[in-house]
């Protein structure tokens, strides 16, 4: 990673991903919890250099409803370092990754910050997009208005339980990419790809030409490759976060990302 190559500007997540897809590549989006280790910024940088196309950065929330045990532990680790949200964003602003960043957090942090202020803070931190899993389509408007105005892309999710018509409505509102939840359940590693994984991607593909990235429970290079037979890319969270919690450090993280990258093809 060269600190000088700034191809990704705020707002640039979707264009970056579309460009990579157009180039025939599968998209790789690792997830890291902000502040979970002292060297988390170095981790982000290492990952960016190891072949990630974008990074999803979690902001810790006290009540992470859709997080499994590993990501919860990362959140607790972040809390133990007593970061404030602004403090984390300030650190993030220093990262200079050269690839787009999507923040992932819960709606109360956004709401409490204030929609406009939050969008501005993201922009100031060099963040392109936001994923707010507990912000359902019906409740989206106030944030979406502020995000759109502030140039922040809001990535929405479709789930195996989402009926086709609703997939279309969600896809129509999603920015950056469309996040296809591959299994019913919280984040976490699984030994096999769920039965539902490909179906949800295919339903999304039928109604949207957004890049479609599969996530939730993608744990191994093989699973990533398998789901990318239909998806445009993958989000890998717990499998990476667990390695970091186990002390993998920037190098270990980069190593895992390289494995994933390899599985997906250059």
């Amino acid at each position: 990673m060269a600190a000088t190559s700034v191809t990704a500007r705020p707002g640039g997540l979707e264009s970056a991903l579309r460009a990579r897809r157009a180039g025939g590549a599968k998209l790789l989006i690792p997830y890291v919890m902000a502040g979970m280790t002292d060297d988390w910024i170095e981790v982000l940088q290492a990952i960016a250099s190891a072949g990630a196309d974008a990074i999803e950065v979690g902001l810790p929330f006290s009540d992470p409803m859709i997080d499994g045990p590993v990501v919860q532990a990362a959140g607790l680790a972040a809390f133990e370092r007593h970061p404030t949200i602004q403090g984390l964003l300030d650190r993030l602003a220093t990262a200079q990754l050269g690839i787009p960043i999507a923040i992932m957090t819960y709606y109360n942090l956004v709401f409490r910050f204030g929609h406009r202020r939050f969008a501005a803070a993201l922009t100031a931190a060099g963040v392109s997009a936001a994923i707010v899993p507990d912000l359902s389509l019906e409740e989206l408007d106030p944030w979406a208005a502020a995000a759109d105005a502030g140039g922040i892309e809001t990535v929405l999710m479709v789930a195996p339980s989402t009926p086709p018509a609703r997939v279309a409505s969600i896809a129509a509102r999603s920015r950056g990419f469309l996040y296809a939840i591959t299994r019913m359940g919280v984040t976490g590693e699984r030994t096999a790809l769920g039965d539902a994984a490909k179906g949800v991607v295919e339903r999304a593909r039928a109604v949207s030409d957004l890049p479609i990235c599969a996530g939730i429970g993608i744990s191994t290079p093989d699973q990533a490759r398998e789901v990318c037979e239909v998806a445009d890319g993958v989000v890998v969270g717990s499998a990476l976060v667990r390695r970091l919690l186990d002390g993998a450090g920037p190098e270990g993280a980069a190593e895992f990302v390289r494995e994933l990258r390899g599985a997906l093809g250059g």
């Binding site: 009540d63 859709i66 997080d67 956004v110 789930a159 019913m184």
Partner: protein, 390 residues
């Protein structure tokens, strides 16, 4: 007022449905199932029959002559402590268990704090032959080991929650997580008027029976609606049920929270557990833990409809301290022969404090006694001993 919150589940600015997309279809399915059941006389008849023959409804309204005289008011208690399992929680779980069956699901999950809702949910599940898993924070499973055993006796599986503060709010998180993973055959039986739409609406409707009965009983006893109607507020289900019976009358409505968990008065608007409401939270929006002697009120939020009723001034929300609550508990036992749960003793404590002040002498006051105190007796013994010692 307190009507249908519409498809968005809004109560003014509060309410809504803030859940991961995985759960939205389940919430929609539940809303539809509830609306159709609620409009179905056969469903209502079956529910009413179970509440009567299994649950012991109607519960009576007791006039407290001795305590009333001492306070200079006429004091009525709506006796939810006499419902099966010992609190109003039964009204809700029987309804949701029937809905579970109606939706063709064979399993219920529930969160619980001290265990009242968990025991009630396990009870309703046993009654209808449903599987049941109850999530309970580790702090609570230790404090309330007997309630864990009760749920197990009733055939439920109790899952200890070791995340977060390991109390009620984390049990809700964990139940929501489990729901996401099992939503196809599992209904999440939420315990209060909280969570994503349609829960606040549905649970309030299932608790409406409290207010409907209390209204008629007050008329019978007093010849009029009470001047003041008071209930404790944890999530707010017993208060919501009670208020439905009086919101369209001139009665003053008061919800009383634990001083250490007063989301209605100290809370700031925010989003938690699928709803927009008032929450105890810090600058960043991280949720704070509630703290009081009564586990049933240890929740950092309140139901969204309460946030709304407070905002528009139709209901007031007040607080009672642990000390006032202990006093109310003792005085009710001694003067009226009723050992009440600590939760409704918050409501009573407020009445005792306000009688002769904002409650004029001669007023008529109805308090919903949401549960019985058997679960609290050991704790009260220790607290009173502690207090005597200090």
């Amino acid at each position: 007022m307190m009507g249908d919150p519409g498809p968005d589940g809004r109560y003014g600015e509060f309410g809504g449905r803030f859940v991961p997309e995985s759960l939205v279809p389940a919430c929609l399915e539940l809303e539809e199932a509830f609306r159709s059941a609620w409009a179905d006389p056969a469903f209502r008849a079956r529910l009413d029959d179970l509440l009567a023959r299994f649950g012991g409804r109607p519960t009576p309204v007791t006039e407290c002559h001795r305590l009333g005289e001492r306070l200079g008011i006429r004091l009525l208690l709506k006796r939810e402590d006499l419902a099966h399992t010992g609190s109003h929680k039964l009204n809700n779980v029987v309804g949701q268990a029937l809905l579970t069956e109606r939706m063709g699901k064979h399993r219920m999950i529930a969160e619980t704090g001290a265990g009242q809702h968990g025991v009630a949910a396990a009870t309703a599940a046993a009654l209808l032959g449903l599987d049941c898993t109850v999530f309970m924070g580790e702090v609570d499973t230790e404090r309330q080991a007997l309630n864990v055993f009760r749920m197990e006796l009733l055939g439920a599986q109790v899952k200890t929650v070791r995340t977060g503060s390991r109390t009620l709010k984390d049990a809700v998180n964990e139940a929501l997580r489990e729901w996401v993973a099992t939503v196809e055959d599992t209904h999440y039986c939420l315990g209060s008027v909280m969570g994503p739409h349609p829960f606040p609406y549905m649970v309030r409707e299932l608790q409406r029976v409290v207010g409907t009965e209390a209204h008629a009983q007050s008329l019978e006893i007093l010849g009029a609606v009470p001047d003041v109607v008071v209930a404790c507020v944890g999530g707010g289900s017993n208060a919501a049920g009670t208020f439905t019976g009086f919101v369209d009358t001139g009665a003053r409505l008061v919800g009383v929270e634990a001083a250490g968990g007063a989301a209605a008065t100290n809370g700031i608007p925010g989003i938690l557990h699928g709803m927009r409401s008032r929450l105890l939270q810090d600058e960043d929006g991280q949720i704070r833990e509630a703290e009081s002697i009564s586990a049933g009120l240890d929740y950092p939020g309140i139901g969204p409809e309460h946030a709304h009723l407070g905002s528009i001034g139709r209901a007031e929300y007040a607080r009672a301290t642990d000390d006032e609550v202990l006093d109310a508990f003792s005085v009710l036992a001694r003067t009226e022969g009723i050992i009440a749960a600590l939760e409704p003793c918050h409501a009573l404590a407020w009445v005792i404090a306000e009688a002769g002040r904002s409650i004029a002498a001669g007023s008529t006051v109805l308090v919903t006694l949401s549960g019985r105190g058997d679960k609290d007796v050991a704790q009260v013994r220790d607290l009173l001993a502690q207090r005597a010692g200090r």
